[in-house]
């Protein structure tokens, strides 16, 4: 309930404020969003498994985002930013799919 309201609140604030993203952060924002999405699906799965812990969720949320951005930043410095960001997106995508599959099994028993 509060989670859904929080998501809605974030969207509304983003629409109302319309902040300008700093140029240096622009390549990392999409990666950060996907990493956060991965953490959220991981948290939902843990919740359905009955092993959810808010501290673990918070740490995994921020560390996911931070590590994804660091990897991409490092890739940019090494000149392989494109390839590394693709790699990060692929890995996170696979994790999201496997988490969603587990969630589906919990909810639909299928």
């Amino acid at each position: 309930m509060i989670a859904a309201l929080g998501l809605l609140l974030g969207v509304v604030v983003g629409l109302l404020v319309q902040p300008e993203v700093p140029l240096g952060l622009q390549p990392y924002l999409p990666i950060a969003v996907v990493a956060a999405l991965d953490a959220v699906f991981g948290g939902l799965r843990a919740y359905l498994d009955g092993i959810f812990d808010d501290k673990v969720f918070t740490v995994s949320f921020f560390s996911n985002v931070l590590i994804a951005m660091i990897i991409v930043y490092l890739g940019d410095q090494l000149g392989v930013g494109n390839q590394l960001s693709t790699g990060v997106i692929v890995v996170l995508g696979i994790r999201i799919f496997s988490n969603v599959a587990a969630i589906r099994r919990h909810i639909l028993h299928a």
């Binding site: 309930m1 509060i2 989670a3 859904a4 309201l5 929080g6 998501l7 809605l8 609140l9 974030g10 969207v11 604030v13 983003g14 629409l15 319309q18 902040p19 993203v21 622009q26 390549p27 924002l29 999409p30 950060a32 969003v33 956060a36 999405l37 953490a39 959220v40 948290g43 919740y47 359905l48 498994d49 009955g50 959810f52 812990d53 808010d54 969720f57 918070t58 949320f61 940019d76 000149g79 930013g81 494109n82 969630i103 919990h106 909810i107």
Partner: protein, 247 residues
């Protein structure tokens, strides 16, 4: 799994339903906050992509490649422009030269038309009227008169508003007077002459000239200067039968 289903709140579905309940706890607040951050970041990213162009999220190397491509395209477009402009200029020059040549040819044709009697003419000059009550004036007298006019610089001559006098115009004596270029004319003979008025007037009236000659034949000569003589009758040119242009 079977144990989980029996115990309350042990299945995923039951936990999910409970999560939509109204209770508030620290864990839920944290989750709500993190999801708010996620929603905010996601919407900011989406809007960044929407408002700016497609390049907002692109990385430096891609932009450089793109810029190079654009520069090459712009260079080739610029060289196309240069080529086309050069071509346009050369066509314009050619057309200018052509129209200048056409203008010059038209002016020349007009000037020649006045001299050849094929174009109407207007300008200053004199009107010479020869009255000949006794019908004594002959073609020879009129020919002398024409020669005097030509000597004085006449450029276009018309007789009795009917005959345009040109190089081919013949003068022949007839019963009632003189035929000029095949047209019968009678007294009075009115010569409309375009040329320098002073010279023409002098040429008509010097002692022993036309005036004296006509007066000897009991006729009179009236000379009137005019700034605006209009000659409308035309000589119809014939294609030369024997003579042809020599290069």
């Amino acid at each position: 799994m079977a144990d989980g289903k029996k115990a309350p709140l042990k299945t995923g579905r039951q936990r999910l339903l409970k999560a939509f309940g109204p209770s508030v706890s620290r864990g839920r607040m944290v989750v709500g906050l993190l999801l708010a951050i996620l929603g905010f970041l996601a919407i900011v990213q989406i809007q960044t992509l929407n408002d700016d162009t497609e390049f907002a999220g692109a990385r430096r190397e891609d932009l450089i490649t793109f810029l190079d491509t654009l520069e090459a395209a712009s260079r080739s477009a610029q060289s196309d422009i240069d080529n086309l402009e050069a071509r346009r200029d050369s066509l314009r020059d050619a057309s200018d030269r052509r129209s200048a040549a056409i203008n010059e040819a038209e002016q020349q044709a007009d000037a020649l038309g006045v001299l050849a009697g094929t174009a109407p003419a207007t300008g200053p000059g004199v009107i010479v009227t020869i009255n000949d009550p006794g019908d004594d004036v002959t073609s020879g007298t009129l020919l002398n008169a024409l020669e005097e006019m030509r000597n004085a610089g006449a450029e276009a001559i018309e007789v009795n508003n009917k005959v345009r006098v040109v190089a081919q115009t013949s003068l022949v004596d007839t019963e009632g007077g003189v035929a000029a270029g095949g047209v019968e004319l009678g007294s009075p003979y009115v010569f409309e002459v375009i040329g320098p008025p002073d010279d023409l007037e002098t040429a008509m009236s010097f002692p022993g000239g036309l005036t004296d000659e006509v007066e000897e034949l009991q006729g009179t000569v009236a000379i009137k200067r005019s700034d605006d003589i209009n000659i409308a009758s035309l000589h119809r040119p014939e294609t030369p039968e024997y003579a042809r242009p020599a290069d």
